[in-house]
């Protein structure tokens, strides 16, 4: 475990070392170019002196870029959540069956994104509606960086379109709420950073089984966990055995508690640094998918892509995710560079 921590630290410091080495190398080259320029032998040769001038100027630009761009970006602390996988919960909101149909579209969009990014996407729980809609779904995305990328998807997604089921051709507005939680593997969480104790958990099985035992062979495996200190409850009934449902339920509970912890830490940081992007306010409308105009707008950064299909296919979605992540980094940086006394 200790070795692993050291290795991780090593890896985190790599960009720092790289930048420093590059700075030293470039500086040395610059000094050489300058001394060449000052050499009487060079100044007597017009061609040589021209070359040396160009070299020095180009190196000076490199140095400037290192100071202005590379060094400040190193100030951003490495993401502590980089190795987390993600657990995504989607719930249909206003709009009835149309919202359920849109949820199915979003689910497909995220599965396609997972294909491109090589995360393993698994549907953990899902409630279908009549027709081909989905009332709610829970999906896990396993892979490094899944949480850091998908966390920006938390919030309300709005669709404006004429539903397939609407005969009059009127445009409807429906919503789907997305919550993305960090996912930790059971094996990864060491006892010291465990988020709860078994004494804090109330475990219930749902539905009566009458006499039970040999008398009943119906598959009734639903379980419900309550984390007493926070009141968080998790119900799971999608697996065929109680043992599996219990494991799934504990996994979801662990994600919710970790999310709570991360949110709290972010709040604390925000009290110190007021510029930080507002964290996941899950009731906030973050994006609109407008089918009539084939455009998607992200309301947080005011970015509109006029290629709805590409977003739903996953490629355009990547553009949004990258843009928001960049925005987040920039505001982190702006905040750090702000003089202490103006805070």
């Amino acid at each position: 475990m200790e070795d692993k921590a050291i290795l991780r630290r090593f890896k985190e410091l790599e960009p720092l070392e790289d930048a420093w080495k590059q700075w030293q190398r470039t500086r040395k080259e610059f000094e050489e170019a300058v001394s060449l320029l000052n050499d009487p032998a060079t100044s007597s040769d017009p061609e040589m002196s021209q070359l040396a001038r160009e070299e020095a100027s180009s190196l000076s630009t490199s140095l400037e870029s290192l100071v202005q761009n590379t060094f400040p970006s190193l100030l951003i602390p490495p993401s502590s959540t980089k190795h987390f996988s993600a657990l995504m919960e989607l719930k249909s909101g206003v709009g009835g069956s149309e919202a359920s149909l849109f949820l199915a579209d979003l689910l497909r969009m995220y599965q396609r994104l997972a294909n491109v990014t090589n995360w393993r996407a698994t549907i953990v729980a899902k409630n279908d509606t009549e027709g081909s809609g989905i009332k709610d779904a829970t999906v896990e995305f396993k892979g490094e960086g899944a949480y850091d990328a998908l966390r920006w998807e938390s919030g309300v997604h709005r669709v404006q379109r004429v539903p397939a089921t609407e005969a009059s051709g009127r445009t409807h507005t429906s919503t789907v709420a997305v919550v993305v939680l960090p996912l930790v593997e059971e094996a990864e969480s060491s006892p010291e950073d465990d988020l709860f104790t078994m004494a804090e958990i109330k475990l219930e099985v749902m539905r009566a089984r009458g006499a039970g035992g040999q008398h009943v062979n119906r598959t009734e495996s639903a379980v419900r966990l309550t984390h007493i200190p926070t009141g968080i409850t998790v119900s799971m009934q999608d697996e065929r055995s109680q043992h599996q449902n219990r494991r799934r339920a504990f996994q979801v509970l662990r994600s919710r508690l970790l999310d709570l912890k991360l949110t709290r830490e972010m709040e604390e940081r925000r009290n110190v640094r007021r510029n930080l992007v507002r964290g996941a306010d899950r009731s906030e409308k973050i994006r609109t998918y407008n089918f009539a105009q084939a455009r998607v707008t992200d309301h947080r950064i005011g970015l509109t892509l006029k290629n709805l299909d590409s977003v739903l296919e996953g490629d355009g979605l990547q553009t949004f995710i990258d843009a928001i992540a960049k925005h987040h980094e920039e505001s982190l940086l702006a905040d750090m560079l702000e003089p202490e006394d103006t805070k």
């Binding site: 006499a211 039970g212 035992g213 062979n217 495996s221 009934q237 043992h243």
Partner: protein, 281 residues
């Protein structure tokens, strides 16, 4: 359409779940039946577990085959609890006897949960169907009948025998001279309750795995006879018996009456029923 058909007999949410499990079994290649065939069989009352051919049991995924008793969640629960109660090791291994093993679920889950080389399990059943299924499950889970020299293994062996027979204690002694643990989920349904069982139990699962005689307690008396005979139980041995919803007290007194146990306890199942009688030598 299939969902509507299933809903009429199972209720909507249960039907939706079962249909999804059928789809998963088909898509994963675990079943070569069509969805229509599966639904039609389910509509006749056939248990889902026979149609899919498997049932998860703890972390294991066991084979199920008619008419062998399908592993129940109540059993899964107490076996996991038993596995957590004891901690055998390769240097201090235990020998176990499971009476009426059926699919083999009890000894196989213990073999899975305990470290390699810490348990030698012997399973007994009167039904050849059950023994064949238990052996298939043992193979699937990777437990050989004998330990190899170079690498410690948990072992599972099966034996055809009727533990109601008067001379069963001699049979048991031949299997192994003495045991550290005896487990059993014997047939325990009494006559009057047997007739009221749901069709999917009554018409599909083996009566020999369910019917416990007129009182439902016949097999517990046979187990009491077995543990009373000399040398079957080792010092510090333990007996764990699953019981019907209202039998725990009766079975507890049957076990106490043998005079072999210093302590008995009753475990509840997740639904609050007294499900398991534990007796300590």
């Amino acid at each position: 359409m299939l969902l509507r058909l299933l809903s009429s007999s199972l209720g909507r949410s249960q039907a939706a779940r079962e249909l999804r499990w059928m789809q998963q079994a088909r898509d994963s290649g675990a079943s070569c039946l069509s969805l229509e065939d599966m639904v039609n069989r389910r509509l006749t009352g056939e248990p889902l577990q026979y149609i899919l051919g498997t049932q998860p049991f703890g972390p294991l995924n066991l084979l199920t085959r008619p008419p062998v008793l399908i592993p129940r969640p109540e059993t899964e629960n107490w076996v996991i609890k038993l596995a957590e109660t004891l901690s055998p090791t390769p240097s201090k291994p235990v020998t176990l006897l499971d009476l009426g093993t059926g699919s083999g679920c009890i000894p196989l889950l213990l073999c899975h949960l305990w470290p390699p080389g810490s348990i030698n399990a012997h399973a007994v059943d009167v039904s050849t169907h059950a023994l064949r299924l238990a052996e298939d499950n043992a193979k699937l889970c990777g437990f050989p009948s004998r330990s190899s020299e170079e690498k410690p293994h948990n072992t599972f062996s099966s034996h055809k025998a009727n533990f109601l027979a008067q001379d069963f204690s001699q049979v048991a002694s031949r299997i192994n001279p003495a045991f550290d643990i005896i487990t059993s989920n014997p047939p325990y349904i009494p006559f009057d309750e047997y007739l009221k069982l749901s069709p999917s139990v009554l018409n599909f699962e083996d009566p020999k795995a369910l019917f416990g005689g007129p009182s439902g307690l016949e097999f517990y008396h046979a187990i009491a006879r077995l543990v009373s005979s000399k040398d079957i139980l080792r010092p510090d041995a333990m007996v764990a018996l699953e019981v019907g919803h209202n039998q725990a007290r009766s079975v507890e007194s049957i076990m106490r009456a043998t005079g072999r146990f210093r302590l008995t306890e009753i475990w509840l199942d997740p639904w609050g029923k007294q499900r398991t009688v534990i007796a300590h030598v």
